[in-house]
């Protein structure tokens, strides 16, 4: 297991360097000078422009800029935002818990509903349940997040008044951040009703963000289950007279889980992408909107730092998924 872990970690280093290079170059390849964007319609004198070029370090060769960025990153310094003048690291960690909390809830929602939906559809292949579930999954997968979110807000918040429109907690609750996770902080605050309010505020964003992963997981579970259900050992289990629930739940589902876990791992990237829109609509103070704003403002340090941090998170998730394969299927562990 240790060798397996080390071999996976060894791929981490070149990927990490590659990501720093790509994140550094990506924003610079885009047309648009951050100093001119900052000055807006007003513009600035040539003299002032040159002053800013020096101040922001753009007068140095790109290689030198990259080197100083890379050495900074290795020392945990992601630079300072051009706009807010605050360290990117601090901004990221002020916002990331909100994105993580929402993503975890969305993933739990997707798995808890997606796995059983896929199993039920596979077991009832071609029947009403299968068709209904898979059609719903297709609709869920095709739904534009923006439209879906607004629809839910208008119906459930606007017309029915069942859920709050946006935000993480009611404005009536006011306490300091401890962990940045509203569910935990609201409990720690000891204020009556705070936790319930935080949960209440999570409902719609969770559904919106979890919809696409839910559809993907349901479809993947169904097809993996169908493949496994056709295997000889399942026929043998059936011939032995095992209860269908035991066959489906233990023998089939466990073996069908490998591709499903892969899809769940890959969905983390989708979740972060979906978080950008979901966070914007629900005024959710996470990293999605922060990144988009900084791309428009050509806030190089934030874009670089944000992309790097997101890439590292995706890499960690992928590593975890690889380790999970090993846990689920010992053959993979031994092969490595």
């Amino acid at each position: 297991m240790l060798r397996f872990l080390l071999s996976k970690l060894a791929t981490f280093v070149p990927t990490f360097i590659g990501v720093t290079l790509i994140s550094f170059m990506f924003i610079r390849v885009l047309p648009g000078d951050p100093i001119i964007v900052m000055a807006g319609e007003r513009g600035m004198t040539e003299e002032r422009y040159q002053e800013m070029v020096v101040k922001l370090g753009f007068d140095k060769p790109v290689i030198e800029q990259y080197w100083s960025y890379l050495t900074g990153v290795l020392q945990g310094d992601l630079g300072e935002s051009f706009i807010t003048k605050k360290p990117v690291w601090d901004e990221f960690f002020a916002l990331f818990p909100a994105t993580l909390e929402l993503s975890i809830c969305a993933m739990i929602f997707a798995i808890v509903l997606g796995l059983p939906a896929g199993v039920i559809a596979a077991v009832n292949r071609g029947k009403f349940f299968d068709r209904a579930l898979m059609s719903s999954a297709l609709i869920g997968y095709s739904m534009p997040i923006f439209w879906w979110a607004l629809l839910l807000i208008i119906v459930f918040s606007g017309n029915l008044g069942w859920t709050p429109v946006s935000g993480r907690i009611s404005l009536m609750f006011f306490f300091d951040d401890v962990t940045g996770f509203m569910l935990i902080d609201s409990l720690l605050s000891g204020q009556k009703g705070a936790f319930a309010s935080a949960v209440h505020h999570l409902v719609l964003p969770t559904i919106v963000l979890g919809t696409i992963p839910l559809a993907v997981i349901a479809r993947q579970t169904r097809s993996a289950m169908l493949e496994v259900l056709g295997e000889d050992y399942i026929r043998t289990a059936r011939a032995k007279g095992l209860a269908p629930a035991r066959i489906n739940g233990l023998h089939a589902l466990r073996n069908a889980l490998i591709p499903v876990v892969t899809v769940i791992g890959l969905s983390v990237g989708t979740l972060l992408a979906g978080a950008i829109l979901t966070e914007t609509i629900f005024s959710w103070p996470g990293i999605g909107k922060w990144m988009v704003d900084s791309i428009f403002r050509r806030d190089y340090p934030v874009v670089q730092g944000g992309l790097l941090m997101i890439a590292v998170i995706v890499m960690i998730v992928n590593l975890t998924v690889d380790l999970l394969y090993g846990a689920i299927n010992p053959k993979i562990r031994r092969r490595s």
Binding site: E41, G158, G161, V165, M172, G286
Partner: protein, 527 residues
């Protein structure tokens, strides 16, 4: 949902530490960059910083562009317009927070500190928080201000390098907010100078309480305010970037007031019995600037003919969806010095075509530049360009629409040899006509903010003279004359001034739409 705010009030009444007797919740459109207004340039930042937390020596009277006394009780200009003496207000208290309790009232040291940190490179705060002091620079203060001297604790003398009447209005701008020198020193001693920006201390009607990034900003009324205390005890900004969601929150009673509604929602808002809609022309102008150095656009008659071919009313309907007003002058009608006697070029394609032919211009092809971003003065430049393309085709002018990424657009459009007419606009900073006419049409702006590259001596003489005269009525006359020349010469097609809509719940009283674009909650109450 309607009960949310009521619930909030009821529940908070239970907790002594957070008891809200009255709240005003504002669904703001974005996050502030920080809370030291001199460091930044965005209106969203000023809404959250300079307006609630700070005061300036002079202030814009809310709802107008008139400059009135603020922390300075009076200001006197010398005959030559080079010296301004300010008498400061006594008994003004700064806020306090957990790190700082002021030991003295506001005085001349705070004024010196507030400006020196922006202008003096050796000042310990000059480079704090990556400070570039953009507005101080952009308003030309480093070249304009020769010295700021303390005469006594309550008298300040500012000496200018040249007579410049708009200087007075500059002092009412957000970058000129007065910060506490004592707090600055205390934070410097504590090794946390950045707290000037993250835990602001001012003299304004509201004290800063807390900011949860991208989510909520909280303020409490300043009980020791030097004017009447604010009418609400708590001011809360619920940051809500999406306009449709802001509207839903307003409807649900989750906020009392919101800015920048979607044009498509305005009709429904006006029909909603729970919502009051206020409106006013914005302090902005959207225009199409010809390159007046290139033939045939160097001929005022050609420019005039093209202007006559643009159906501005159609643009207001389609691009602004009604939330705009046709612009006939380069300054908005809410500004003093606006020349209402000017008659706009009538929309007349036939006459325009004849005029072009008379000037020997046939088979004209040109480029029209469309901005890639939305702005209040132009919510959809691409659509506007398409309408202009259609209008010009009616007089035989072939238009190619071009666009670039925003930074490129701003940069390339400044080029003296630019090919084509540029759609752009401007939002005023200080309510002074000089801020439009000199910046956008003065000779100094050529190859910079003067996108028409237009340097016309009679016009230039008037605006330079208007800078030197301190009497506002006299200045207004000069600007009125300048607008007559502008109309004759037609370096731009003036297209529109946006109309600013401000929807609020009926229980909100006392709100005034501010022509300078800021959102100000002092004097606003919730019934």
């Amino acid at each position: 949902m309607k009960s949310t705010l009521t619930m909030a009030t009821a529940a908070l009444a239970l907790s002594a530490s957070t008891a809200f007797a009255s709240n005003l919740v504002y669904c703001s459109e974005g996050s502030p960059e920080g809370f030291d207004p001199a460091l930044f340039t965005a209106g969203t930042t000023f809404d959250a910083s300079s307006h609630p937390i700070y005061n300036r020596l002079l202030e814009f009277e809310t709802g107008t562009t008139n400059v009135v006394p603020g922390l300075a009780e009076s200001v006197e200009a010398s005959e030559d317009g080079l010296e301004y003496t300010f008498k400061l207000r006594k008994g003004v208290k700064f806020h306090s927070n957990e790190d700082f309790t002021p030991t003295r009232d506001f005085n001349a040291d705070d004024v010196i500190f507030s400006f020196q940190r922006q202008g003096d490179e050796n000042h310990p705060y000059n480079s704090y928080s990556g400070g570039t002091w953009e507005y101080y620079q952009a308003m030309g203060m480093p070249d304009l201000v020769e010295s700021i001297e303390k005469i006594d604790d309550y008298t300040i003398k500012v000496t200018l390098t040249k007579p410049e009447a708009p200087f007075v209005a500059n002092l009412a701008m957000d970058f000129a907010s007065i910060v506490s020198a004592e707090y600055g020193q205390a934070m410097l001693d504590a090794g946390t100078p950045e707290k000037m920006n993250t835990a602001p201390i001012g003299t304004g009607p509201f004290k800063f309480v807390a900011y949860q990034k991208d989510a909520v900003i909280r303020y409490a009324a300043n009980a020791e305010y030097w004017k009447e205390p604010a009418d609400v005890e708590n001011l809360i900004f619920a940051i809500t970037p999406d306009a449709s969601v802001r509207y839903q929150k307003l409807k649900a009673g989750e906020c009392h007031i919101m800015p920048y509604p979607n044009p498509a929602d305005i009709e429904a808002m006006q029909a909603d019995g729970d919502i009051t809609m206020m409106e006013q022309e914005g302090l902005n102008v959207g225009y199409l600037a010809y390159n007046t150095t290139m033939a045939p656009f160097d001929n005022p008659k050609v420019r005039k003919a093209l202007n006559m071919a643009i159906d501005k009313n159609a643009i207001i309907d389609v691009v602004f969806q009604g939330s705009g007003e046709v612009a006939k002058n380069p300054i908005p009608p809410t500004m003093w010095g606006y020349n209402d006697a000017i008659v706009d070029d009538a929309y007349d394609p036939e006459a325009a075509k004849a005029m072009l032919e008379a000037e020997g211009v046939t088979d004209l092809s040109m480029k029209v530049w469309a901005m890639p971003v939305q702005r209040p003065y132009n919510p959809n430049a691409r659509r506007m360009a398409e309408l202009i393309q259609e209008d010009f085709s009616k007089i035989g002018v072939d238009v190619e629409i071009v666009s670039y990424e925003w930074g490129e657009y701003l940069d390339r459009s400044k080029d003296l040899n630019r090919d084509g007419a540029v759609l752009l606009g401007w939002t005023g900073d200080n309510g002074d006509p000089d801020n439009f006419l000199a910046v956008l049409l003065g000779c100094d702006g050529v190859e910079a903010s003067n996108r028409a590259q237009w340097c016309h001596e009679p016009f230039e003489e008037l605006i330079l003279k208007a800078k030197q005269v301190t009497d506002q009525a006299e200045r207004a006359k000069l600007y009125e004359e300048a607008q007559v020349i502008f109309k004759e010469q037609a370096p731009w097609a003036t297209i529109a001034h946006s109309v600013v809509y401000m929807p609020m719940r009926n229980e909100v009283k006392g709100y005034k739409v501010h022509p300078l674009g800021g959102h100000i909650f002092y004097g606003v109450s919730v019934e």
